[in-house]
């Protein structure tokens, strides 16, 4: 009846006999009879594999796919076929956390490689095995800063970070005496002057994001010096794809680099799984949350990998741990590792610069030919924000013709109802971009 349950009637009889009870019910005798469930659960009875497939296929078809120009934290990049083939290797995806190093060298080594790749891209010295997503990584980075600057009680967050990151931080620290304050923005980027006005030694960390929620790149010249003069830590969140052509967090002088690696080998999948990355300098290694893999030797002197620095973690420190995280996004992190290893530095530069060129091509056509205005006059990587009159209607009309034309920022900022953030990746062909412009032309009037 149930293909995942191998027990036959004979097995059950023999097993009950060994146990010395008459029925399976007897094994549940410790459950007080008042609360024993006497009626079946109110969900349908089981169905066959084929019926499951039909049901799920039906559900998937109720979602509409289209030509995507959407970004704001989730991007439609090319994914080499080999990535998903690696993820389907059963000894990876059906494995547990690699506690038994001797039989987990595959996962451990892949994480060690992931940590190396993150360090290379961000320019930082150490990385962990990954976190849930780029948004929760921000909360963890702030916690690191608070544990480093124990007497400081303010966190300054730029007004241009992703609103969902901000929301996750607000939830995370809502019962904590720490004060989360916003740094004012100017022309849709973080204002260094405003930061100078408010920062002092009561600040534990400053969090900025580049490219920011509008897609604009932040020129962070002078930020690290100002932050460090005040003994605070600088946390920079970046779409890691942008690091293919833009300065890394280390280049800007960051103390902690964070973000989400979804653009590397992971589909958008309605927002998850992504992978949070976090990397920092050697000094803060022990303040880093989550799993870390290290290299060592086995008794025969062979190179081996193992979960290390575990004394920081919850299973040892319990309530004294600085983070409750006890897992990572291992398989999704592997996807990003495979992606980066497959495309290499040249491929990454190609993906990043093509995304850049195509976004600039679309920007040019929309602003010059259609007369649309940008929300601010700023540099950008692969997404930008335009003011589109009647944005809601325009997006709906575009969608009805099969194009997801961008993310309406009105959902995050009520006073920016007509701001639309448009992202372009290397996956969009010129033909598709031109079709976008033509459609937009028709929809706009």
């Amino acid at each position: 009846m149930f293909s995942y349950l191998p027990q036959t009637e004979t097995d059950i009889r023999e097993m009950l006999k060994v146990i010395g009870v008459n029925s399976i019910e007897d094994l549940f005798k410790d459950i007080p009879v008042e609360i024993l469930k006497k009626t079946p659960l109110d969900i349908p009875e089981g169905i066959s594999e084929y019926e499951v497939l039909k049901r799920l296929k039906g559900l998937s078809e109720k979602n509409r796919q289209g030509l995507s120009f959407m970004g704001c934290g989730s991007y439609d990049h090319l994914i080499p076929s080999v990535v998903n083939h690696v993820l389907q290797l059963p000894n990876f995806y059906t494995a547990y956390t690699p506690y038994q190093a001797e039989i987990s060298q595959g996962i451990l080594q892949s994480i060690f490689e992931f940590q190396t790749l993150v360090c290379e891209l961000t320019g930082m010295e150490v990385s962990n095995a990954s976190l849930y997503d780029g948004h929760t990584a921000a909360s963890e980075a702030i916690t690191m800063a608070l544990n480093t600057r124990k007497k400081a009680d303010r966190i300054l967050v730029s007004g241009t970070i992703h609103p969902n990151t901000r929301a996750v931080i607000e939830t995370f620290f809502s019962d904590n005496p720490v004060k989360i304050e916003e740094i004012e923005t100017k022309d849709c980027v973080t204002s260094l002057d405003a930061l100078r006005e408010t920062i002092d030694e009561s600040v534990a960390a400053v969090l900025v994001q580049t490219p920011n929620i509008y897609g604009w790149t932040e020129d962070l010249t002078g930020f690290a010096d100002l932050v460090h003069e005040n003994k605070a830590l600088l946390i920079i969140s970046s779409n890691p794809m942008s690091l293919g052509i833009l300065k890394s967090q280390a280049d800007w002088g960051a103390d902690i680099a964070i973000g989400g690696t979804q653009p590397f080998g992971l589909s958008t999948y309605f927002g998850g799984p992504s992978v949070g990355y976090i990397s920092t300098g050697t000094k803060l290694t022990r303040k880093m949350p989550g799993r870390i893999v290290g290299q060592t030797k086995d008794v025969d002197g062979k190179r081996a990998f193992v979960l290390t620095l575990q004394a920081r973690e919850q299973h040892i420190k319990r309530q004294r741990a600085t983070s409750n995280i006890c897992s990572n996004q291992a398989l999704a992190a592997m996807a990003s590792g495979v992606y980066l290893s497959t495309v290499g530095w040249n491929g990454l530069k190609t993906a990043a610069s093509q995304s850049f060129q195509k976004a600039h091509y679309l920007y040019k056509r929309l602003t010059e030919e259609l007369g649309l205005k940008p929300l601010a006059d700023q540099d950008f990587f692969n997404e930008f924000t335009l003011i589109i009159p009647e944005a809601d209607r325009v997006l709906t009309d575009m969608e009805s013709q099969g194009v997801f034309a961008g993310v309406g920022l009105g959902q995050f900022f009520p006073d920016q109802k007509n701001a639309v953030t448009i992202a372009v990746t290397e996956k969009r062909s010129r033909e598709e971009i031109d079709a976008y412009v033509d459609l937009m032309k028709g929809v706009l009037k």
Binding site: R286, Q310, A311, R312, I316, K317, R320
Partner: protein
């Protein structure tokens, strides 16, 4: 178990050696034995003001982590930098390896600490 007679002890297994107004703090031989191979000692920041019984720092073995509390109030004036690279010194010589030193703001706090005999008795009961 090695319990030198010239030191004071806490229930958290720290020892204190007093030199003038400064209290040198380490962990007892019993504590290092319980922890096993010590692999890391986090050194507190010099000039930090600290209260008695406040967590000053952490030491780690492979499978355990233990807080080290300051037995007295005051200001941290010295840390044992040798431990940064050679944390195993605590295993080999627990009483010769202080972790940090506190310039005491209230010497009377020393009175509430155990002497060697009391600590020995405490260990037997524990």
């Amino acid at each position: 178990m090695n319990i030198p007679g010239d030191l004071k002890y806490t229930e958290g297994h720290e020892w204190v050696r007093v030199e003038g107004n400064v209290a040198y703090v380490g962990i007892s031989d019993h504590a290092q034995h319980e922890l096993g191979d010590i692999v890391y000692v986090e050194l507190p920041e010099i000039d930090t003001e600290i209260d008695a019984k406040e967590e000053a720092t952490n030491i780690e073995s492979v499978k355990a982590a233990a807080p080290v509390y300051s037995p007295v109030s005051g200001k941290i004036v010295e840390v044992n930098e040798d431990l940064e690279d050679s944390s195993e010194l605590i295993n080999s010589d627990a009483y010769g390896s202080y972790i940090f030193a506190v310039e005491m703001s209230d010497k009377s706090e020393l009175d509430s600490l155990m002497d060697a005999d009391a600590y020995k008795e405490f260990l037997e009961k524990e």
